[in-house]
């Protein structure tokens, strides 16, 4: 999980053009990372490519924090 956490932190930093330090598990996607609805759509597609997983509609878009995304991706990767 630690490895996935680092990858996800790096992924979010590249995706949002932010420093890795800003990507904490508590960071709220909308309120802290200022992600709008279109960025959420791109996020799902980018996560699928990055981690070679499939995500259902709404599975990530309704999550609020980076930690929630980590949990979902971690479960997909088994």
């Amino acid at each position: 999980m630690a490895n996935i956490e680092e990858r996800l932190q790096d992924f979010f930093a590249r995706f949002l053009d932010l420093s890795p330090a800003e990507i904490t598990p508590q960071a709220n996607l909308r309120d802290d990372l200022k992600m709008d609805s279109t960025e959420m759509v791109e996020l799902v597609v980018a996560l699928e490519k990055e981690f070679n997983i499939r995500l259902k509609d709404g599975e990530i878009t309704n999550r609020n924090c980076v930690g929630d995304v980590l949990k979902t991706v971690g479960e997909k990767l088994g």
Binding site: L16, D17, T38, E39, V41, E42, V45, E48
Partner: protein, 403 residues
Amino acid sequence: MKEVAVTGVGIVAPPGVGKEGFWQNIREGKSFVSPITRFDASAYPSQVAGQVKEFDTGNLSPRLLKKMDRFSVMALVATEQALKDAGIDLAKEDPYSVGVFLGNTLGGWLYAETELRDLYQEGRNGVSPYNASAWFAAAPQGQISICYGIKGYSKTVVADRAGALMAVGCAVREIRNNKAAIALAGGTEAPVTPYALLCCTTEGSLSRGTYRPFDKERDGFVIGEGAAIVILEDMDSARSRGTTVYGSITGFGTSCDGANRITSDQDGKGLARAIKAALDNAGYQPGDIDYICADGAATELGDVSETKAIKAVFGDYAAEIPVSAPKSMFGHLLGASGAVDLVGTLLTMQEGVILPTINYRTEDPECNLDYVPNKSRSKEVNRAIVISRGRGGINAVLAVERS
């Protein structure tokens, strides 16, 4: 009614990014039309364009840039230049008294056609979600208003190649009627894309090589890309804060020919009405005008009817007025063209140098005005008009005066 001052200009165009580079290059009468390099245009009859080379996008983040088409990016860069030039910090202004008024013809086509290609090749997941907010004509207005927190009445005008002047005309009305304190007005266009070029080609107005307005051997215009923004405010406010004033916009006139879905009317009567309306709006007599910045579409009907319109309004005096089409140097920026011509005309009045119509070789008996062929000319210009004409007979004319 308030007097409308132009206190800042910003420009991203083939001859230069920023007014200094733009002006230095165009005053020399050089051509900034070159073979299209952004994509393979070898199958198109028209393979040249006025292209903006790489340019500094300033503080725009990669996160924002990937959400925008080139026409929005150019508009944002031109806006930042214009605000700096005017010495205005919008964070200190009442956001409800500031508006954005932009002209545009094609929308964000590079973004749109790329995503459409991906839609058909890769399916739904191949399409960027940002296309939803990147492709449409009002996207630059939205991005500018978000970037600067602008909340006043704003408008995007889609009126083909007359869009930018129409937008400036709307902005002038808001300032005059005290509905806005500051207006950001102009146009933006990014037509150097495979589909946009195809549409311009099938319309039948594009040159196969050289843009020669008013020349007997003309064969159409060449497309160009870029953005131009001017800052408009009440003259008294501008003077009270001691900023440089480029000039004032004193009149606006518009008309529709109602003649053909592509071309203008045969006799230029529609355009003549718009010119007359602009002069009347400014309180000018024909003899007051020192310079005309022409549309110069370089189509036979366009050039001849524009010449007829000028003659109809200015009578015998028409032969004495310099009439030039500076866009012959860098291409027709379609929905942004009027704003670029406005900036060029303001700099003409400031510098006392009339920009030329280049590539001019062969006189057309039906176009026998003084088109300032090939070389700039030193001349004091105190009052001028700028003409834009769109497909289907849309005419817009601005009257401007040196301060």
